[in-house]
């Protein structure tokens, strides 16, 4: 290599296939092998000690690192333009790991109220048992986050493209508010994927994924990821002693000093994964890696189909409203143009005339579209959030998070668009009794 060469950046499609995955050195296997092993032989006792002390790179035990999972971690870090990533058993586990690294008992954080219902429940109830308190904020006016800040706040959390659907959050000013307060902005980028939006380009510091969704893309595998930008200065305001002071959970190691711009990632793995245990299975990592290779192609088709379905629904007499940021009628159209120029995702919600009963009727009478609790599959998926994903919430929380009684959520798949539309048409016809 020439010593003065300029590093040349590869395109997204190239990274989606190659990042993290050189040929396996021993065999030359070109596809990433599934390393279905729990543990790895040490060379000698000193090598073992060096690995446990994090003094050398290498594998110990698959609860911490696994070669197949590591390829996926580097892949998602690369696609997000980040410094490093930790994979977890699910998106929920990834959220827990991120907050476990940042928060102490008694700490607080702000979260957009427009979140996946399971996240609202996790933040409201499960996190309380760790001594962490979440304050929910209406994300439509970014200034409301500033008003809600408290001295114990350690982070702001948003979904940039919110689930159940159609809401785009104005990330850039919220990142500025977080940074003024010395806090990282955590963005759940699950619905957009890094192909449609890269939150680090807009000031986010940590990105969370449920890789179960569009990244995996085929409805085969659970998985989550915590990605670090490498740009947040954890020491600047002294708010994160767990990262910038000797850590009693790791024999006095100072993670930020030792690992610099990937200190957060190292601590999330070496303490969070070690002590909480939600490691990703290597088989799942393999399936998600295979899914990611076609992410750009799939997302282009997902958004094209979603746009057509949204336009059909908006014109349908049995539909009272459609929330999809790709529609000219959407109040989020201009934010979508800014943050999601390649398309506003493939998850949308619509209101069925006739309320709760009509919503239930639609999900029960579709024949091609699958009635189930997931999004981001090749197959089109449908659910009635009020009776399922958002069932645990109060009426007020349900309406606030976009999951009122008449709301149906649709994850538009990769089937022939006309077939998806025909199925919805016949189901909607049955709501008129």
């Amino acid at each position: 290599m020439n010593r003065n060469e300029k590093p040349r950046g590869y395109g997204f499609e190239t990274l989606a296939i190659h990042a993290g995955a050189s040929p396996e050195p021993v065999t030359g296997a070109r596809s990433t092998p599934i390393f279905q092993t729990t543990s790895y032989v040490f060379n000698d006792a000193d090598h073992a000690a060096s690995l446990f002390n994090l003094q050398t790179f290498g594998y110990i035990y698959s609860r911490l690192t696994n070669p197949t999972v590591a390829v996926l971690e580097e892949r998602i870090a690369s696609l997000e333009g980040g410094r490093g990533a930790v994979a977890a058993a699910s998106g929920h586990a990834a959220q827990l790991l991120a907050f476990f690294t940042l928060l102490e008992p008694g700490d607080e954080f702000l979260a957009s109220r427009n979140l996946y219902g399971g996240s609202v429940t996790q933040f409201t109830h499960a996190f309380k048992r760790f001594g962490w308190n979440c304050h929910f904020v209406d994300p439509r006016d970014p200034g409301d986050f500033r008003k809600a800040l408290t001295t114990r706040c350690k982070a702001i959390f948003i979904e940039n493209l919110a689930n159940p659907g159609g809401i785009v959050v104005d990330m850039e000013p919220i990142a500025a508010i977080a940074h003024e307060a010395g806090l990282p902005l955590i963005v759940d980028n699950t619905l957009a994927t890094p192909y449609l939006c890269r939150p680090f380009d807009w000031g986010a510091d940590i990105v969370i994924h449920s890789m179960t969704k569009f990244l995996s893309g085929h409805g085969t595998s659970m998985g989550g990821a915590v990605v670090e930008s490498g740009r947040f200065d954890w020491a600047r305001f002294g708010k994160f002693p767990g990262l910038t002071e000797p850590d009693p959970a790791y024999h006095g190691l100072n993670f930020f000093e030792t690992f610099g711009d990937f200190g957060f990632t190292m601590k999330t793995r070496a303490v969070g994964l070690r002590d909480l245990g939600p490691a990703m299975a290597p088989m799942n990592a393999f399936l998600i890696l295979t899914g990611i290779e076609t992410l750009p192609l799939r997302m282009d088709r997902h958004v094209a189909n979603a746009q057509r379905v949204a336009e059909f629904l908006e014109a349908h007499p049995a539909v009272s409203w459609v929330s999809y940021a790709g529609l000219p009628s959407s109040p989020y159209r201009s934010l979508a143009r800014k943050y999601l120029p390649k398309g506003a995702g493939a998850v949308l919600t619509f209101g069925v005339k006739g309320g709760f009963e009509a919503g239930v009727r639609v999900v029960e009478t579709v024949e091609l579209i699958s009635h189930l609790a997931n999004i981001g599959d090749t197959r089109s998926l449908i659910i009635h959030p009020a009776s399922t994903t958002h069932r645990q919430l109060t009426d007020e929380q349900r309406i606030a998070s976009g999951a009122g009684p008449e709301v149906v959520r649709l994850s538009v798949g990769l089937e022939t668009a006309d077939d998806i539309i025909a199925d919805l048409d016949q189901a909607l016809a049955k709501t008129k009794t």
Binding site: P7, P25, A70, G84
Partner: protein
Amino acid sequence: MPAPTYSDGLLCQILRDTRVIAVVGASPNWNRPSYFAMKYLQGKGYRTIPVNPSAVGEEILGEKVYATLADIPERVDIVNIFRRSETVGSIVDDAITIGAKVVWMQLGVRNPEAAARAEAAGLTVVMNHCVKIEYGRLHGELGWSGINSGIISSKRRNVEVR
């Protein structure tokens, strides 16, 4: 991810042409970054020589500790500095005097004035990077911890024979 400051080609060349690394600010404590780097680099076949006036008379990882760079009786390729940025100036001047080829300042350590003096004297300077992390990145090990190495390759790596 912040844009790389030094090309992979430059860093590879430095690591390939180096045998002896003087570690200024080397700590005898196992959980300090300098100890991590020394231990790792020894494992990769480099000779590491600790420099720390407050640990003279001790050994770190089997190597005798010297008070200053000038006390080291052999040729040094890299002077690797684990000291606060503002204290780097005189260390860099010593590195020039003993004829080191490279001054390498650890993560968080930057001193552009001292770097300019070293470069004017013909030395290569790397600031705010960790030798261990860069070695691991360029040899395919950093990705084992889920870190973005920025390296894309369809070539099979050589496997170390032990």
